[in-house]
Symmetry: C3
Amino acid sequence: MARSGGRRISAQEVATLTGGRLVGPADVAVAAVAPLERAGPGELSFLAGSRHLPYFRRSAASLVLCRAEHEGEPLGPRSRVVVGDPQAALLAVLPVLYPAPDPTPGVHPTATIGAGARWEEPVTIGPGVVLGAGARLGRNVRIGPGCAIGEGVTIGDDALLHANVVCYAGTEIGRRVILHAGAVLGADGFGFAPAPVAPGGTGHRKITHVGRCRIGDDVEIGANSTIDRGSLGDTVIGDGSKIDNLVHVGHNVHLGQRVLIMAQVGIAGSTQVEDDVIIAGQAGVKDHVVIGRGARLGGRAAVIGDVPAGATVSGYPARDHRQSLRAQAALFRLAAIVDDLEALAKGAHGGSR
Amino acid sequence: MARSGGRRISAQEVATLTGGRLVGPADVAVAAVAPLERAGPGELSFLAGSRHLPYFRRSAASLVLCRAEHEGEPLGPRSRVVVGDPQAALLAVLPVLYPAPDPTPGVHPTATIGAGARWEEPVTIGPGVVLGAGARLGRNVRIGPGCAIGEGVTIGDDALLHANVVCYAGTEIGRRVILHAGAVLGADGFGFAPAPVAPGGTGHRKITHVGRCRIGDDVEIGANSTIDRGSLGDTVIGDGSKIDNLVHVGHNVHLGQRVLIMAQVGIAGSTQVEDDVIIAGQAGVKDHVVIGRGARLGGRAAVIGDVPAGATVSGYPARDHRQSLRAQAALFRLAAIVDDLEALAKGAHGGSR
Amino acid sequence: MARSGGRRISAQEVATLTGGRLVGPADVAVAAVAPLERAGPGELSFLAGSRHLPYFRRSAASLVLCRAEHEGEPLGPRSRVVVGDPQAALLAVLPVLYPAPDPTPGVHPTATIGAGARWEEPVTIGPGVVLGAGARLGRNVRIGPGCAIGEGVTIGDDALLHANVVCYAGTEIGRRVILHAGAVLGADGFGFAPAPVAPGGTGHRKITHVGRCRIGDDVEIGANSTIDRGSLGDTVIGDGSKIDNLVHVGHNVHLGQRVLIMAQVGIAGSTQVEDDVIIAGQAGVKDHVVIGRGARLGGRAAVIGDVPAGATVSGYPARDHRQSLRAQAALFRLAAIVDDLEALAKGAHGGSR
C-alpha cells in the first residue's frame, strides 16, 4: 500500500461504512487493506467469491468482507462483515483508511498570479503554478506544481489538477473535475487550409482556433491526454465522463454525459459521442460521425461511420461485434482452404482469371 | 468564442479582407464570428452551402459570407459578402477579429538563464523557463511557462513554444515554428544493444544517442507529441510540416516538406517520409522504409514496407486503398458463406484435409 | 552531431576500446563520429557491410571500424580498426567521445523541498523541481527542471530524471533508472464503479487507488509515457525493462525483467508480462492476461488472450504470426475470387441463402 493516513477503524465501523453485518469477534480494528493472500494482522481484506476460498482459509487478515454464503465458513479469519458485494463494499472503506492528502491551502510563493485572477478560499496553488490574467477558481480548488493556467480560464469548486497540467486560454473546467499530470486542455486543433502562407514560408496556412475547451462537472481526465479547443464552436466533455491516459479528443468534438474512454483512444474532429457510450482502449473514431447513446466500441475498434444507439462494434473497420468475430473466425478458417477455393473458382468459370 | 480582442470591423472591411463583394446594407459592423444557428447581432457568420439555408433564413447574424448563388436569397440577414468559398474566406477574417494574445516581451524573473544563452530583442521568456547554457533564440521568440530548453538549443525568429515544452540539448528549431504544450523534442531514441550492462545491472546496454532533432521553418507540432533525436545522424522535420497531438517520430526519421501527420501516428526509426505526404490518425509506419512523395496513408494504416509516390494505402498491413476496401468487403461477405465453402473445398479434393 | 565533449582519442585508443586491431597509419586521432558519406578529417566512421563499400571508398573519415574481410580494401581511408561487428563496436566509443553532460551537483535555489525529504550527496536537483515531504533520493541522482516528485517517493542511486517528469506520491524508482521528459508515474488507474456519486454529481464513482508504482533497477522509460499506480496491489516494472515513448501501462500490471516495449504500446490493467518479452510499436494487450516469457508481439498486434512463452504473435486479434500472415495473404487473394465463390456456394446448396 502506498498511502496510509495512520487511521485505525473498528470492525463495527467497517460494518457501518459498508451497510454490512458484523459476525464473529467484534474487538478487532484495521488500518490497511490487502488481498487475502497478503493481508496480515490489522488489515482488512475481502472474499470476492468461492474460488478465492483457499486464500481465505489461510488468510491472516483481521477482518474480511464476505457474502452471506461464506458467513459460516469454518476456516479463515473469524471476524467477518457480511455484505452483498464484498469488492464493491470495499470502495466505501478505502477513502476512510486512505484519505487523500489534504494539502495546506494557500498560494505558494513561487506561483505567478496574473492580473485580475481571483479565487474563493480555501484554494491551493502549488509551486511554480502560472495563473493567467483573469483566471477564476472556485472554492477548494487545488492546483499542483507546474500547472500553466491560461488567461480567462475558469475552474469549478473542488477541482483537482495534478502536476504540470496545461489549460490554454479560455478553457472552462467544471466542479469536482480531476485532471491528471501532463494533461493538455484547449490546444489548437489540427486545422490547416491549403492557402498560401506568409511570404517566404512553406506549406499550409493555420486556421485560427477561436472556440473553447469546456469540461463538465465530475469529469476525470488521464495523464498526458489532450483535449483540443474548438475551431469556431467549442469542444465539450459532458458531465461525469471519464477519460483515461494518452487519449486524444479533437477540435469540436462533443462528448455526452458519463462517457467512458479508455487509454490511447483517439476521436477526430467534430464527432459527437452521446451519453453513456463506452470506448475501449486504442479505439479510434473518424471525424464528423455520431456515436449513439449507450453504444460500445471494442478495444482497437476503428470507427469510420455513425454507430447506432446501443450497438456494440469492433474491428477494422468497425462493424457489429458479432459480425466482426464471425468475419475474423472465417478469415482464419479460410487460410486453410483458399488454395482449394482458387482452383474451384477457376474451374467454375473456365479459367477466366 | 474563447477570445475576443474587442475589435469591431465594418462590413466593408470584411469584404476587403476576403476579396468579396458587399451586398445589402453596408452600415453593419461585427466583433465576433459564430455559426449561423447561434450568431446574433454584431456577429459574422457564413453560409457554406445550400443545405445550410434553413439556418441562414432564421439567422440573426449581422453579416454573412455566402456564394453568388445565395446572393439574392429573399430571407435571412440582409448584409452579405459574396465570395467564392465562404468557409475559406472566413480564415482571412478570424485573425483580425481574434488576434493572438501579444504578451509583453521580457524575461520573467523566475526564469533560469544558462551561461552564454542569448537572444535578439524582443523576446518573451515565461515564468519558470529554463534556458540552457549557450542556447540561442531569434527575434520575437516566445517561450511559455515551464519550458525546459537544453544546452545549445537554437530557436528561429518568431517561434512560439507553449507551456511545458521540453527541448533536449542540441535541438534546432526553425522560424515561425509552433510547439504545443508538453511536446518533447530530442529525447534519446529507443536503441539498445544486447551487450552486457554495467556489473550488477540487468538487461540491455543503452546506445548513446549523439544525433540531433532538427525542426524546419513553419512547422507546427501538437500537444504531448515526441520527436526523438537521431542516434548518429539527425532526426529531421522538413519545412512546413504539421504534426498533430500525441504523435511519435522515432530516431533518424526524415520528414520532408509540407508533410501532414494526424493524431497518434507513430513513425519508427530511420524511416523517410517524402514531401507532401499525408498520414491520417493512428497510422503507424515501420522502421527503415520510404514513403514516397505525395503518398496518403489512411487512418490506422499499418505500413510495413515502402509506399510508392502518390499511392493511397490503408489497412493492416497497409495495401492499395481500393484493394484494402475490396478485401474487407470480401471478408464480411465471406463470413456468410464459409461453411458452404469448407464443404465445397473438402468435396473437391476428396476430403484430403 | 549534437554533442561533443571536445575530447580527442587516438586510433590506438579506439582499437583498445573496441577490442579491435589497428591496421594502417596509427598517427590519427578522432573527435567525433559520422556516417561514411558525411565523415571528414578528425572523424571516426564504420563500414557495416559490403553494400556500403561505395561510401567507404569515397569517405574522408580519418579512421574506420571494419570487418576483417574489408581490412585490405585498396580504396578508402587507410587507418582502420578491424573488429567483429563494426556497428556494435562503435557503441564502446560513443560514450567516450560524447560523454553525458555532467551537471554541477547541488540543489537549485528555485526548487521546493518538502519536510523531511533527504538525499545522499552528490545530488542534482534542477530549477523548479518540487520534492515532496519525506521523499528520499540515493547517491548521484539527477532531477531535471520542472519535475514534480510526490510525497514519500524513493529514487535509487544514479537515477536520471529528465525535465518535467511527474512521480505521484509513494512511487518507488530503482537504481540507474532513466525517465524521459514528461513521463508520468503513479497516476491513478482507470477504475470506476457504477455506484452513485456524491449528491448532485453525475456518473461513476472513483475507485480510490492505494497501490504504488514500483520501477526496478536499470529501467528506461520514454518521453510522455504513463505508468499508473496499482489499485490495491502495485504496478511493477521489472529490472532492466525498457519502455519507449507514449506507452501506457495500466494499474496492477506486472512487467518482468528485460522486457522491451516500443512506442505507443498500451497494456491494460492487471496483465502480467513475463521476462524478456518484446512488444513492438502500437501493440495493445487486454487486461488480465499473461504474456509468457520470451514471447514477441508484433507491431500493432491486438492481444486479447494469454500468449504462451516463446510464441510470436501478430494481427487483430493477435494469433500465431505465421497464421496471421497466411490469413492476411488469403484475404487479399480472396477478394479476387469471392464473386465466383458466392455463386459456387449458392449453387452447391440450391440457393438456400
